[in-house]
């Protein structure tokens, strides 16, 4: 092959915000037909760099070359005109419209829209992205929605496609399908810039990688030739801490039980829970795997007491039938809970860390006859900050001012310091950087070693395989039996996610009949 002109060449790109230098003299070269990984922890500057390429943010300094000539990309429309397409991490689709309508909305007003269905069919066929143009978005699963986003981008025939953590909402099998598509695109000469912090994916898919840390490029490599730990080292600057996982020794008296729980969803787009059975004993971690939106939210609300259930015995907390108890009463029984949303649920964004400590930990003698003990409350918050390595200015720091990972450490710390006998953690490391994730996982393992019954609900299969003793899979509002983690692998669990454990009599064949079912099936 002759020496090619790079499709995209960034040199010396810098961008500073009042409080932080997001990008510091970044160089990046993407060749035609290359799948190039942009790797880095949260806050490393990946998103800013992408926004610069896509014309959303203007760099303070640096030069962008597109096919060899210097360009200034003032806005996304201009980026699209150059041939840059971007698939965002969070979907920007109208749920009440059909696939075709959503795609039509994104096209330039001047472009031809008659026969759009045929064009969609053509593109989706060519790249193995099956789509029915007439389906409504709200009936589609996350994987299918992402397909819409990708097809929408492809219709503009981009020569550089940027994807921001595209697999975070997909089953392993669905992710593999996306990889196939991307490889096909690359073969056709389209360059792909793939943003992720999942090392395995990048090693499987990408041929070049640029690693960012604290706004700087810390490495350039061929990820296929690297090990996960060497990549992680470039990413976080040190060896990846590995959690210690001993066989459980202590068996505490804490436990969590769900007995034949069936519950209709409150939300019209929610998932009904069907006949859920699970028991978590003291001294073990049980994981619930599955793609979000399969009833996890509803199950967690029923477990935490945010939603009470009529059948008192359906939920058992530390031996006490608790169906009718509210979240506060279940806490009084020794239950702690780390919810998946940190701001607005796990913590009040506008309030200080001290106030947020009071939120669930007031039973730890932080009040006296209904009056708040200000000193005790601040001390408690300070103790969390110190013991859980939370980077914050102190107990008066406002929750919203903390990064996602630090706030999560604070919330986990607040729950653990209450000395629970049973603990529920939902997506404990979602959006948390690698270092903090490892810390949080270790804390959960320590809890288990102290005899606490721990239930972890997570979309990150690797995380569950790493820390759990047993793993169950949730799909379409049903929960599989929990397998010993030793017996589980990504393949088996991926199959269970698509419903293989559900009895034949309840599996729908042929057309996808209900919205709830449709949301969860990622098979083409």
């Amino acid at each position: 092959m002759q020496a090619q002109v790079p499709r995209l060449e960034l040199s010396g790109i810098s961008k500073a915000y009042p409080s932080i230098i997001a990008n510091d003299a970044i160089d990046l070269t993407v060749m035609p037909g290359e799948i190039h990984a942009l790797l880095g922890e949260n806050g490393a500057g990946k998103s800013t760099l992408m926004k610069i390429i896509y014309g959303i943010v203007k760099p303070d300094a640096g030069v962008i070359r597109w096919n060899g000539s210097v360009v200034r990309i003032a806005n996304p429309a201009q980026a699209r005109a150059l041939g840059i397409g971007m698939v965002f991490q969070h979907f920007s689709l109208f749920e009440t419209l059909t696939v075709a309508e959503n795609i039509e909305l994104a096209l330039d007003p001047s472009s031809e829209t008659s026969g759009l269905d045929a064009i969609i069919g053509d593109v989706s066929g060519r790249y193995g992205l099956p789509l029915d143009p007439r389906r409504h978005i709200h009936t589609m699963s996350a994987g299918e929605r992402q397909r819409v986003e990708i097809v929408r981008c492809l219709l503009q025939e981009p020569t550089l496609l940027i994807l921001d953590e595209p697999t975070s909402v997909l089953t392993p099998q669905a992710a593999a399908k996306v990889f196939e598509t991307l490889r096909r695109l690359a073969n056709d000469g389209c360059s792909i810039l793939y943003i992720s912090h999942k090392l395995d994916e990048i090693r499987e898919l990408c041929t070049r990688a640029t690693v960012l840390r604290d706004g700087r490029v810390t490495g350039n490599c061929d990820p296929r030739l690297e090990t996960p730990s060497s990549l992680a080292k470039m990413m976080i600057g040190s060896e990846l801490p590995h959690p210690h996982h001993r066989a459980a020794t202590t068996r505490g008296d804490g436990n969590l039980g769900i007995r034949r729980l069936s519950l209709a969803a409150e939300d019209p787009f929610g998932t009904d829970l069907v006949d859920i059975e699970l028991s978590v004993r003291g001294g073990e971690i049980v994981g619930i795997a599955g793609i979000s939106g399969n009833g996890q939210k509803e199950l967690l609300a029923a477990l935490s007491g945010e939603r009470t259930v009529a059948d008192d015995g359906a939920i058992v907390v530390n031996g006490t039938p608790s169906g009718h108890l509210d979240a506060g009463e279940r806490r009084a029984l020794g239950l702690a809970f780390v919810p998946e949303e940190r701001l607005g649920r796990g913590a009040v964004p506008e309030m200080s860390l001290a106030d947020n400590a009071l939120l669930t930990a007031w039973r730890q003698k932080l009040t006296h006859r209904g009056m708040i003990r200000i000193e005790a409350m601040r001390d408690y918050a300070s103790a969390i900050i110190a013991r859980f390595n939370v980077h914050a200015t102190g107990p008066d720091a406002v929750a919203r001012s903390l990064s996602g990972g630090n706030l999560q450490k604070f919330i986990v710390g607040r729950e653990i310091l209450q000395g629970p006998r049973a603990m529920i953690a939902a997506q404990p490391t979602w959006g948390v950087d690698v270092g903090a994730s490892a810390q949080i996982r270790q804390k959960l393992i320590d809890l288990r070693d102290d005899g606490v019954a721990v239930l972890v609900v997570s979309e990150e299969l690797d995380e569950l395989l790493e820390i759990c003793d047993r793993i169950a899979v949730m799909t379409r509002g049903r929960l599989s039996a929990a397998l010993p983690a030793r017996a589980a692998d990504a393949e088996t669990i991926g199959q269970m996610m698509s419903g293989s454990f559900i009895g034949v009599e309840t599996t729908r064949t042929g057309e996808v009949a209900t919205a709830a079912a449709a949301r969860t099936i990622d098979a083409p």
Partner: protein, 368 residues
């Protein structure tokens, strides 16, 4: 270049406190324009409106007298508003308070000890709470919007009072005027400042401000109500009952308004009339927001609102303006406050003319 509104990275604290001051200043400017348009000398008119009423000792007494019910109603409403409980019916709860407190006074025409005031106040608070409990129940049982139900109950309360003083409670020696008997002297709140009408109700209001401060800043229940207001999902997560929050928020507002009603009936009025309040319960909503739902802010805002009432009366007398001018000023103040509040979360920025004006671009830029 053109101007555009841009989301601040975080709400401005300075602006949160400046906004009421800006609103007050803008109200003055609007008043200036208004008086000019009406053909009055604006400076003299403003002097009549804002200075003349408080030039005398009596005037100052009136200022505090009218501030008392405003303060009391507003602080009670603020307890609810902080918890996202939108009680708009303080006027009706105040009326019920006056009816119940007045009922006690009228039942003991021979009372000669000031101790009668205690059951009157308790009855007033109970009346206000009873009235507030109706929207609370409708909200928690049927999820009926408390803004509508509490507002509609205002009119029921006013008509109920009107029926009482024209029917069963009408003074037989009152020449058929729709009014009750005069309360016995012992059932009148003692005057604080001789030569004025300022009565002990003012002390109750001050005490309410202090208690509210303690309640908001130091008690677990006050904290939990605030959580319910700021982040309902966090409240639910922490086991704070949404229903209890509604009940508490409404009942505190009802009790405070009820006591304010007793203060009016057993204060400057001294009997029950078809109307015991010139809209204090509604004006208190403005007071609560101008005062940023904070006890100290509410105390100051109630003085401002009281001055608007006095200024309106003064303008009627000296400038021959209609009494509606008070309402105009109240509305103008709230309008400017809400407008100025936009700048707590947004700021004005210069945008180049051809920049991408799409909300997405601006949103992404500000989140980066």
């Amino acid at each position: 270049m053109r101007l555009k509104l841009e989301l601040r990275p975080q709400p401005s604290r300075v602006m949160a406190w400046m906004s009421p001051l800006i609103a007050a200043a803008a109200t003055l400017v609007a008043g200036f324009a208004l008086f000019s348009l009406l053909g009055k000398d604006p400076l003299q008119a403003l002097q009549v409106f804002f200075v003349k009423p408080v030039e005398t000792r009596y005037g100052l007494g009136e200022l505090l007298l009218k501030a008392s019910p405003l303060m009391l109603c507003a602080i009670g409403l603020a307890a609810g508003y902080r918890a996202n409980v939108w009680n708009i019916g303080a006027e009706g709860q105040l009326t019920l308070g006056a009816i119940c407190g007045g009922g006690v006074a009228l039942s003991f025409p021979g009372a000669n000890s000031a101790w009668i005031l205690l059951p009157m106040i308790v009855a007033g608070a109970a009346g206000g709470m009873a009235w507030a409990s109706i929207p609370s129940w409708l909200k928690t049982r049927f999820n009926a919007n408390e803004i509508l139900t509490s507002l509609m109950l205002v009119y029921v309360a006013t008509l109920f009072l009107s029926w009482l003083v024209q029917g069963p409670w009408r003074d037989p020696e009152g020449y058929n005027f729709p009014q009750s008997k005069i309360f016995p002297d012992a059932a009148l709140l003692p005057i604080l400042l001789s030569g004025t009408r300022l009565h002990a109700g003012f002390l109750i209001s001050l005490a309410a401000i202090a208690i509210a401060w303690l309640f908001f800043a130091r008690t677990l229940i006050g904290f939990r109500m605030q959580v319910a207001g700021l982040a309902p999902a966090a409240a639910n997560y922490a086991g704070i009952s949404a229903k209890r929050t509604v009940w508490f928020g409404m009942l505190i507002g009802g009790a405070a308004a009820g006591v304010a009603g007793v203060g009016e009936a057993a204060g400057p009025i001294g009997q029950l009339l078809p109307s015991v309040s010139p809209g204090y319960g509604f004006a208190a909503i403005i007071v609560a927001f101008v005062g940023r739902l904070h006890p100290v802010g509410i105390a100051l805002a109630s003085l401002l609102m009281s001055l608007l009432y006095l200024g309106g009366e003064s303008a009627q007398i000296s400038l021959a303006l209609p009494s509606a001018v008070t309402g105009v000023f109240q509305g103008t103040l709230l309008f400017f406050l809400l407008a100025a509040d936009v700048f707590i979360n947004f700021r004005v920025a210069l945008a180049p003319r051809n920049a991408p004006s799409s909300a997405t671009a601006a949103g992404f830029a500000s989140r980066a």
